[in-house]
């Protein structure tokens, strides 16, 4: 197999594993379909925005949860934002944590919320690393003269 085919094979396998392990879902595929010559970096841009937004929301939530009296409505509002964003880019694991997170907010459970916050951080780091690997592979393919079609 030549280098390009090998890389493409690697990409396909890697992407398949991300879906299989629930890191991303079909909405991520939708984003890839939106990427074309007129917006070649669309996925990377949206994903970057998401990670920035996620970090900001997590920091805000951490501050609120540190208070003597926790304003759970505020935490819930941030979780709602994060749930929406993660859903829009197909970050399935993060979205799922948010679902549990919301329940803890509604139950005014500080410990539960803090655990979820930790989980969000963990998933954020994992997804970031995974997507960075994905984008690197894509760049290598393009550099080797190939193109990166959207999956399915």
């Amino acid at each position: 197999m030549d280098v390009l085919s090998q890389l493409q094979r690697q990409l396909a396998d890697f992407l398949a594993s991300l879906y299989r392990e629930g890191f991303v879902d079909d909405q991520f595929t939708q984003l890839q379909k939106l990427q074309d010559e007129s917006s070649p970096d669309f996925v990377m841009e949206v994903v970057s925005l998401f990670f920035e937004d996620c970090e900001k929301l997590v920091n805000n939530m951490a501050k609120v949860l540190e208070q003597q009296v926790v304003d759970f409505k505020q935490v819930d509002s941030h979780v709602h934002q994060l749930k929406g964003s993660s859903s829009s880019i197909g970050a399935a694991r993060i979205r799922n944590v948010c679902i549990a997170f919301k329940t803890f907010c509604e139950g005014q459970n500080r410990e539960g919320c803090l655990r979820c916050l930790q989980q969000v951080n963990h998933e954020h780091a994992q997804l970031k690393a995974n997507l960075q690997s994905l984008f690197t592979l894509e760049r290598q393919i393009v550099a080797a003269g190939g193109s990166v079609p959207a999956m399915q």
Partner: protein
């Protein structure tokens, strides 16, 4: 759905007046704004995104103290998130439908939550459609089709379905 129209509709269909339809979108979430923008640009529309209902009203010239500026303004579709700070998508919908100059613009409400009473409320309020987030390519294509039909009544349009005069 496609069966109710006499002609097929594809994104490559040339828009009647050689102009791209203009979509005005409101969503307080930055990522959602970016996705909506690309969804509609890819469906050959011009897109303006705003953060909330107040900005939409200002854009349309419907904010308090403004005069409607419908002469050079062309908006073919308004898409609004339901949950926004300050003014919900439903409240925005009502304001638009109450305006003699803007009420004809189709308004689509989107929400991440599937709440039947909310959906009914919006449809009763005159929404063209209520869609669940996250929005997909097929949603944009469908809406793009609607815009074309609405602007070209000779092709069948929504003549029989447009009941929010």
């Amino acid at each position: 759905m496609a069966n109710s129209f006499s002609s097929s509709c594809s994104p490559s269909m040339k828009f009647d007046f050689d102009e791209k339809p203009h979509v005005l979108a409101a969503d307080d979430n930055l990522i959602d704004r970016k996705v909506i923008e690309r969804l509609f640009i890819n469906s050959t529309c011009k897109v303006t995104t705003t953060e909330n209902g107040k900005r939409v009203l200002e854009y349309l010239g419907l904010a308090d103290g403004q005069h409607p500026n419908h002469n050079d303004l062309k908006v073919n579709l308004i898409i609004t998130d339901y949950s926004m700070p300050g003014m919900t998508g439903y409240e925005l919908l009502k304001r638009i439908k109450e305006s003699p100059t803007m009420k004809e613009i189709p308004v689509v409400v989107v929400s991440s939550e599937n709440i039947p009473t909310r959906i009914n409320q919006c449809m009763q309020g005159g929404a063209q459609e209520f869609l669940l987030k996250p929005l997909r390519l097929s949603d944009a294509t469908k809406l793009r089709c609607h815009i074309k039909k609405l602007n070209n009544p000779l092709q069948g349009g929504f003549a029989g379905e447009d009941d929010h005069a």
